[in-house]
Structures are given as structure tokens and as C-alpha cells.
Amino acid sequence: MTTRLIYFAWVRERIGLPEEDVDLPAGIETVADLLRWLKSRGEGYEHALQYPDVIRVAINQEHVEHREKIAGAREIALFPPMTGG
């Protein structure tokens, strides 16, 4: 199944893409697994996800914890802590 990944702010700048569609390999079950896998995909990803603990994640436009399962996610967004308001 194809999953759409969306990136914002410095995560987007460091990865060099606003979004992409990926086929997740078997064994990627949680958000933490996804971050670990993405980090190994190249220099930009490594730079963006150097400290995975600070990365905030939303599945289908709702905030989730890194232990959350990603089965069935259509859209997963990765971004830094928010600074609106």
C-alpha cells in the first residue's frame, strides 16, 4: 500500500521535498519504525531526522505518539515542534 508522507518547515527543507508517496517495507509497524527507516534513505533524511525524538508526527491529520501503529495510514506528516500563535 502506498502511503503519502508530508514534510513541513525545516524537516521539509532538510529532506528537500514537500511530500512523497512511498511503499513502506514490511516490518515498519510504528511511527518510530518509520522514522528509523526514513533516516537511512540519504543525507537529507539523516540531517532532518538526526534527533528523532523532537520530530512531531500526525497520521491522517491528527497528532500521534511515536509508539502509534501506522497500519492503514493514508497520510503521515513529519514536522518540528509547532510555533504558531
Partner: protein, 158 residues
Amino acid sequence: MPAAVVPTVRIQREDFDVAAEIARLTQGRADIGAVVTFSGLCRDEQGALSALELEHYPGMAEAEISRIATEAVQRWPLQGLTAIHRHGKIAPGDNIVLVVAASAHRQAAFEAANFLMDYLKSRAPFWKKEHRTDGSEGGWVEAKEADARAAQRWKPSE
């Protein structure tokens, strides 16, 4: 039982008019005794900022602020609640965010507006990037620990 208040949430590039937004909640009714507004403006502390650029997550920005606003109308007896957040490039002195809370009495309006802003700061998907007067990019504004703590204080105690 009165019908539940449905909050108004808008994410927009253009500016907003504070007086017009208050009037939208109060016009034609006499049961509102208190309106609290909070306006957040683009601030420049050292004269070095030419603009803040606000990036947002379209769709989720509306959804998340609506979730927070819905929680506010469930927690406090409000007659109206509006939240507007701008995106795009915003110059120092210009508006970024507006919250308007209307209630019979001031306490609920103050608390609901305060709660909404505290949660919006740490949960609404917006990011500020600085643009400097010398033409350089000033980088992304860092999230403040104090904002996260401010949101924590509204958690019901166990």
C-alpha cells in the same frame, strides 16, 4: 437545553478586523455580558526582522484548532467562540492570530480564550520562519518550553 455553540475557525492569508469579529458574535442578541479578545501580532525586538513567514498544514490546521475550540465550548459556558489564524508573510506590527470568546460572565470568556491560545501554540500546525531586513533568512523560530508548560496547566488533575 440550549443548542451547543459551534465555534468559528478560519485559516486565511488576509488580515482580519477585530471589531467586525466581535460584532459577528454579539449582534442581534442581549444575553452576552462579556467578550474577551486576544490578538497576536508579529513582533520585532531588534529592528532586524522584515517579516515572519507562517507555514501551515492545510486541512490539519483547521481540524486541530476546531478540536481545541470544541473542547473549549464543552468546558466553559460560552455564547460564541471565534479563532482566526493567518498564514503567509506577515510584517512586524501586523496581526497573526485572533481569539474572540463571548459569555454571560467574564470569567468563562477569559479562561476559554486563554486555554484556546495555550493549546493553539503547542498543537496547531504552524511554523514561523524569520526574514531579516538585511535580506538574509533568519531561520525557523524555535518552540518554547514555556508554551508547552502553559498548555499542560489546563490538563484536568487526576
